[in-house]
Symmetry: C2
């Protein structure tokens, strides 16, 4: 475990770039001396930000990249054309083995497409899923896949289940994680064509602790640790989590402002409430890994601030130390092929 973890960080990606990205990188290296960060992006802008901080200069290096991929750009085209963008330059650092991992708060599409096109899939992995941790009543669960690969096949979902199990066990530290497939009823015969075909395959998987179907209603309760679904469904789940949460909290705040009595009460409950709701925030869990690539690619929320960037960088250390990709090779592929 004496080795450095080398992380390429997209200094130009996200709503708060480069300021918060650079700040997060500084905080990460100040937290852990075994990290080296390569900040990709416009040299001058990054230098200006770095100038404000004290840190070990050996742990941060700037890699100049003159272009920036915008969120609205069609991803495949952007990755192909903008060879000198902060995302493409960073992905090439991972591809060439100069870095172990890549963290970006930039264009989701470009990160997902670029990860596959440039870093490439581990041999035998059919599709790399995007797998964020989502908060539950009892802790968190891995939602796999929320990525760009819609219309998955049953064999993809089986690999997602196995990769998700490896991740929850080794990175999050949940022994024998409970795996469930998102379905519209608890019974085995329920579901759409994809789920009906996948269910018996998961049931016959000795490598995972498959507990059956999970209805969307039970996801927030913490009923399962690894929640397997096709990316279109996963995207709906992730974004609705965010949407319903935001609306309800807005409603709670508005409700507290309706009378003088409730306003006084609001002042009293606010600190405790803030603390409790923090534990149910999607932002608390850092970035979502794109699993199954020859290297680690982590996508963090577009609105990420320094703390999320820092957490995402630190997460790369665990990923490397736990040899996740080796475990994926051992547990997901060999028994499949």
């Amino acid at each position: 475990m004496d080795e450095m973890t080398r992380v390429a960080v997209d200094a130009m990606g996200g709503d708060n770039a480069p300021a918060e990205i650079v700040k997060g990188a500084v905080e990460a290296v100040n937290d852990n001396s075994k990290i080296k960060v390569y900040l990709t992006g416009r040299e001058k802008e990054i230098e200006r930000e770095l100038g404000q901080y004290t840190y070990n200069k050996d742990q941060i290096e700037i890699v100049n990249a003159t272009e920036v991929i915008e969120t609205a750009e069609p991803p495949v085209m952007a990755i192909r054309k903008k060879k000198d963008s902060s995302i493409v330059v960073a992905l090439n650092l991972v591809k060439n083995g100069k870095c172990d991992a890549f963290v970006s708060a930039g264009s989701s599409g470009a990160v997902l497409v670029g990860g596959q096109l440039i870093v490439g899939r581990i041999k035998g992995i059919e599709r790399p899923p995007l797998a964020p941790l989502i908060p539950t009543e009892t802790g968190c669960a891995l939602l796999i896949d929320c990525g760009a690969n819609v219309d998955a096949r049953p064999s993809h979902l089986v690999q997602f289940a196995k990769m998700g199990s490896v991740y929850m066990e080794s990175v999050v530290g949940i022994a024998n994680p409970r795996v469930a497939i998102v379905n519209i009823g608890a019974e085995e015969e329920k579901g759409n064509a994809l789920v009906k075909e996948t269910f018996p395959m998961l049931k016959n998987c000795p490598e995972i602790n498959f507990i059956g179907s999970i209805e969307a209603r039970d996801i927030p309760t913490g009923y399962a640790d690894v929640i397997v679904c096709e990316a279109f469904a996963g995207n709906i789940i992730l974004k609705l989590y965010e949407g319903v949460g935001a609306t309800l909290i807005k409603k709670v705040k508005a409700g507290m402002m309706t009378s003088l009595r409730s306003k006084i009460g609001a002042l009293l409950v606010k600190p405790a409430l803030k603390q409790t709701l923090k534990g149910f925030s999607l932002d608390e869990y850092g970035g979502a890994p794109l699993l199954g690539l020859n290297g680690l690619v982590v996508k963090t929320h577009g609105s990420s601030r320094a703390v999320e960037i820092k957490n995402s960088i630190l997460q790369c250390v665990t990923f490397k130390e736990q040899k996740i990709n080796q475990k994926i090779k051992d547990k997901v592929i060999l028994k499949d092929e």
Copy 2:
């Protein structure tokens, strides 16, 4: 508008049957003299419940049915075998024209399957969608389809959009309702195969006010009035709404109990908060209609209490008075075929 609306009500369905169902029926007829309710189920049990109330005896009639379909029973089998169940007897009242509508808090599967098999689809309607109203920041939206018909085709979704528009306009009273399709991004080229194929068809539909894609995050904000999706996705959305809401409210309550200060605050905010959150509860909107049948079938939540049963019965009156099925025939089918 002088005509009676005749509603068959499943007295044995749901967690609180028959007590809350019978109570809801009594409240509905006491509220509106133009309703006649036919309570189907075990005569003796229903009589005992009815005995507690004062109401116009001409407005409630018991239709004996000796069997009950349980929630866990496979629906198709249950509908075929239990000919004397409260659900099958009630559906036959609609089929034979003795009733205009059917309301049940019982087995969703049996109600959906039975509605199609017994009452039957309007000629030209490919699939009858289940379309609940869900709360949003600004009011409510119709989520269409949350039913049992997964793996829909594009033409089904187009009919859902048209039926949903008719319903929102005539029953809820939203002029020119905004129709959106659930998608994983805002751009037209995003989506799975189904959405990509359906999008241009909706765009070319002169009968509806199509506003494009809606991401799950924006559903609770009230961005659209009619939210079109395939039933598997719709089921996820409906149940996650419920799940995230329940978990967050539990968290808010727990947060308020963490200190003496917050406990005092909780006492002060509670009444105002309760009122505000009530507006964001799924239960407030009565039952979900199964649209496109030769009659109206309304499925209410399994945990329904009298108020929801009453609201669901009253909803049948609007449905009949507004001649929704005639409008569906005029606006959805004729231009299609």
